[in-house]
Amino acid sequence: MAKKIRDPRLRITRRIKKDQVFKVKVKFDHPSFTGLGIVDDETNPIFNRAIPVSFIRNMFVYYGDQLVSRFRMSSAIADDPLFTFKLKAVQEAPVKVVFVDNQGEKWEVSKKIKFYT
């Protein structure tokens, strides 16, 4: 909730050959909250609006200049999620992952792919 948002981190297999399918892992420390809380009305517990809603709305994956994937999320996503997906190494170019949260704030992380010979 009042947790600090850290810049996303990206991890890719070190030795990648051309046309190899490799794994990309992205960790993003971002809180996720529906905004609701259960409070006691002195008679019975009720749901109410507790704090502003906070969640990652979109994640975009770029390989080189090309947008290759979009992850669409809601407040049901976990706190500090870890995303894993696969890409095919077709070119020596950076992999960039962009996050946008529900407040319209943006974060990005990238790493260059170099082929192992």
């Binding site: 909730m1 009042a2 905004g35 809380g37 259960i38 409070v39 006691d40 009305d41 002195e42 517990p45 009720i46 109410n48 609006r49 507790a50 704090i51 502003p52 809603v53 709305r57 979109n58 975009f60 947008l67 979009r70 669409r72 962009v98 946008v100 529900n102 407040q103 319209g104 943006k106």
Partner: protein
Amino acid sequence: MKKVLSFLILSFFFFYAVSNAVFAGTVEEEFKIEGLISPASPKALKSALEKKLEVKVIDLNLKSTKTGWPVLRVQFDSMVVSKENIEKVIGEIEDPAGHKFKVHHGPLLANAPILDEEQKAIAILGDTAEVFPNMKNPITDKVASVSRGEKLFVDNCAKCHGLSGNGYGTVAHGFTTWPRQLWAWNNTGPETDGYLFWFITNGRSDMPPWGLILSEYNRWDLINYIKTIKNPGE
């Protein structure tokens, strides 16, 4: 009789003057509160505020407030305590769960407007729920279409959405998301046609793309029937 009347009038003015003098600076203010997340929060907030400042908490309205945020009503002497001071102290109070309260200002921003980058990505990746085609329902004979749609619904959709459209179909229990309650579209106008057609055609999450199974004509029949489904509780 005259004496009694004059006594009453005089006593009225006396009490009026005294009460004015005593409650000259007494005011009531409302604060929208952020941070009430646990059952212990309301009590903690009220007692801590009264302990730290010379104020009286009248009530804490958790339900049925205009904005949805809980509203704390506080009575205080404006000569002794200021509104800003109360806000500051509320911001310093710690909940038993270990987080701080805050006075809420401004509207609730649940979802900021779509950024340019998001808009571009949506355009590149094609059909998504944000861009629905503007479509016109081609079927004119609605009565016959609804009865055809009902049969299609029972055969194809009721397993998940339930016969009454309540979202509790027999096979829905293993899904990652509950199927939608279909009376959300009861009596909606032509503006929802594009959305419903897109959704039925392409599917999402656990819902299959019915565009591969049902003809376009059948999908419009389904849409016509869905718009007649009423909430049984109403």
